[in-house]
C-alpha cells in the first residue's frame, strides 16, 4: 500500500526503488533550498552571521560578495553603473549558474519553487486538471518587458512585483501584505494552469534559462534504450518538452538534456522505474 502523500508521478519509481530513493533528488533540493535561506536567517534571528543581505545582493562570511545578475542587468538598463562589489558579485553568481545549470536556481534555490510544487501536488491530489494553455515563451516577452520598463522609468522594474524577492525577504526581514502576491502565484498554479508561474510567466526563470543554455551540469538520458514509455518523467517534469530530444532521439543524437529550460531538478531521475536518467556533465554524456 503506497502512502497517500506520494505524488502519482513518483509511484512507479517508489514501487521499483522504494520511497527513499524515489525522493533522493527531491530531498536534496529541499535541503538546499532550506540551507540557502537558513544561512541568511541565522544572522537576523540568532545574531550568528553567515551571510548578510538577501538574494538580491549579499556578503558571505564577510568576504565574498554575491549579486543577482538579473537585477544587475535591470540596474544597467535603468542607467546606473553599480560599484565593484555588485559587479563582481553578479559575475560570480552568473558563473556559478553557468557551471551548475542556469535554472538550477529555480529548482534548487528559489523559495517560490516550494509554493508552486505544493500547488502542483495539490492539483494531483484534488484531481484539478483545468489547464489554460499558456505559451512557454511568454516569460521571455515578460523578461523583455521588465527591461523596457527599467529603461523607461529608471528603476529596477521587476523588483516592484517580484514574488521571489518578496518571499525570501519574508523569511529574512519579514513582509506584511506581500503574502498576497505569493498567494496569487499559488492560486494561479493551482487553478489556472499546470506550472503556470515558473514554466510560463516568471522572468527570473527566463533569465536563468538563458544562462543555462551553455551550462556544464546536465541530466542525461544515458540508458534511453531501457525506457518503457511509462511517462513518469513527463508527468513529474516542470518543463516536459526538454526531455523529448534526449530521450526519444536516435543514433548519434545527444542523450544530454541541453535545453535551457531544464531545472536540473532530478525529478526524472527520481521518478524513473528503470534508471534511464543520470545527473552528469556535458563532458560525460
Amino acid at each position: 500500500m503506497l502512502r497517500w502523500w506520494i505524488s502519482d508521478s513518483r509511484r512507479l519509481g517508489v514501487e521499483a526503488h522504494g520511497v527513499t530513493r524515489a525522493h533522493k533528488w527531491w530531498f536534496l533540493r529541499r535541503m538546499t533550498q532550506i540551507f540557502v535561506l537558513a544561512i541568511f536567517m541565522t544572522g537576523p534571528l540568532l545574531g550568528f552571521w553567515i551571510a548578510r543581505g538577501n538574494f538580491a545582493s549579499s556578503q558571505l562570511l564577510g568576504l565574498v560578495d554575491l549579486s543577482d545578475p538579473y537585477i544587475f542587468l535591470q540596474s544597467l538598463v535603468g542607467r546606473h553603473w553599480p560599484i565593484l562589489p555588485a559587479i563582481t558579485g553578479a559575475l560570480l553568481i552568473a558563473a556559478i549558474y553557468i557551471l551548475v545549470g542556469g535554472r538550477a536556481y529555480c529548482g534548487w534555490v528559489c523559495p517560490v519553487n516550494v509554493v508552486t510544487d505544493a500547488a502542483y501536488w495539490m492539483r494531483e491530489k484534488t484531481g484539478l486538471t483545468r489547464d489554460r494553455k499558456l505559451d512557454k515563451r511568454t516569460r521571455l516577452f515578460i523578461l523583455a518587458g521588465t527591461l523596457i520598463a527599467s529603461a523607461l522609468t529608471g528603476t529596477i522594474a521587476w523588483e516592484f512585483l517580484n514574488p521571489v524577492s518578496l518571499l525570501q525577504r519574508a523569511f529574512i526581514t519579514g513582509i506584511g501584505i506581500g503574502w498576497v502576491i505569493i498567494l496569487a502565484v499559488f492560486l494561479l498554479d493551482l487553478f489556472v494552469a499546470r506550472r503556470a508561474w515558473c514554466s510560463h510567466l516568471c522572468p527570473v526563470g527566463a533569465f536563468y534559462g538563458l544562462l543555462g543554455r551553455v551550462s556544464l551540469v546536465r541530466v542525461s538520458a544515458r540508458d534511453r534504450e531501457a525506457c518503457t514509455d511509462c511517462g513518469a518523467c513527463f508527468n513529474i517534469c516542470p518543463e516536459p518538452h526538454v526531455i523529448v530530444p534526449a530521450l526519444k532521439g536516435s543514433g548519434d543524437d545527444t542523450r544530454l538534456i541541453l535545453h535551457g529550460d531544464c531545472q536540473n531538478c532530478g525529478g526524472c531521475i527520481d521518478s524513473c522505474p528503470v534508471d534511464v536518467f543520470r545527473m552528469t556533465t556535458r563532458v560525460r554524456p
Binding site: G43, P44, R52, G53, N54, A56, S57, S58, Q59, D65, S67, D68, I71, F72, S75, G78, R79, H80, W81, P82, I83, P85, A86, G89, K136, R137, T138, L140, F141, I142, A144, G145, T146, L147, I148, A149, S150, L152, T153, G154, T155, I156, A157, W158, E159, F160, L161, S165, R169, I172, T173, G174, I175, G176, I177, G178, H241, H259, D261
Partner: protein, 221 residues
C-alpha cells in the same frame, strides 16, 4: 516552445514577431505606469545616510537589506507595501527610531551597489532630510514656555538647531530655528518632541525647504 523544425510561412513569422513585441511592450509599459504611480518627487521616506538623489536611488538600490543589517540601532527597514517608500527600499521613520549618526557610517559602508555613498567623508555630510518646525501653533516655545527639547537633544549641538529671540505679537519668545546647512535630518528632534505628534518633523530636503519654483510668467525664483 515550438519545435524548431516546423515550417513557418513569412506571414506567420511576421504575425508572431508582432505578437511577441506587442506582449513585451504592453507588459513593459504597464509595469512602467505602475511604477510611475509612486512618483519619487513626492517621496516622504527618509533614506539612509549617503543615499543618492531619490531618482538615482531607485535604480541603484537592489533591496538587499545590507544597510538594514549593518545598522546597530535597528533604525532602518525595507519597505513593505503601503509603507510610504517604494517596495523593498530601505527607509526610516524618525519618530520611531532616528539615525544615531555613527561616526563610521556602517550602513553606507555595507552598500554593495553605490546607492549609498561608501566614501561619505563624515556623517555630518549625510543628507537624510531636513528638520522643519511645522507646529507654529502647538510648539511649546511658541506658547511662551522654554521647552527647547529639540535644541537640547540635537546631536549637532548648537549648530543645527538654535534658540533665537523673536518678538511675536509683542511677546519675547525663544524659538527653535533649524539651520538647514548643518542639519543632517537624523530625526532626533522629531523623536524626542514632547507633543502627541511632533511639532518638528524631518522631511526630504526638497520637500522640507520648498525647492526652486517658477511663476506663471516663466520667471524662476
Amino acid at each position: 516552445m515550438a519545435p524548431s523544425k516546423r515550417k513557418v510561412t513569412r506571414r506567420q513569422a511576421l504575425t508572431e514577431t508582432a505578437k511577441a513585441a506587442g506582449v513585451a511592450c504592453l507588459g513593459g509599459f504597464s509595469l512602467a505606469a505602475f511604477i510611475k504611480s509612486a512618483d519619487p518627487v513626492d517621496a516622504r521616506a527618509l533614506r539612509p545616510p549617503g543615499a543618492l538623489s531619490e531618482a538615482a536611488f531607485q535604480v541603484a538600490c537592489v533591496h538587499c537589506g545590507l544597510c538594514v543589517e549593518a545598522c546597530p540601532y535597528g533604525t532602518l527597514s525595507l519597505a513593505e507595501w503601503g509603507e510610504g517608500a517604494p517596495l523593498g527600499t530601505p527607509f526610516f521613520t524618525a519618530r520611531e527610531t532616528p539615525c544615531y549618526m555613527c561616526k563610521d557610517i556602517p550602513c553606507a559602508k555595507a552598500c554593495p551597489t553605490g546607492a549609498l555613498d561608501r566614501d561619505l567623508p563624515s556623517i555630518r555630510d549625510a543628507n537624510m532630510g531636513v528638520a522643519v518646525l511645522v507646529g507654529h501653533e502647538t510648539c511649546l516655545n511658541y506658547k511662551g514656555l522654554n521647552c527647547s527639547i529639540c535644541v537640547r537633544v540635537c546631536p549637532i549641538r548648537g549648530e543645527a538647531i538654535s534658540l533665537e529671540d523673536q518678538e511675536i505679537n509683542g511677546r519675547k519668545l525663544k524659538i527653535p530655528v533649524v539651520h538647514s546647512d548643518k542639519c543632517t535630518g537624523c530625526g532626533t528632534c522629531e523623536k524626542q518632541c514632547v507633543l502627541g505628534h511632533a511639532a518638528i518633523r524631518v522631511l526630504p530636503r526638497d520637500l522640507g525647504l520648498g525647492g526652486k519654483g517658477r511663476n506663471r510668467a516663466g520667471r524662476n525664483f
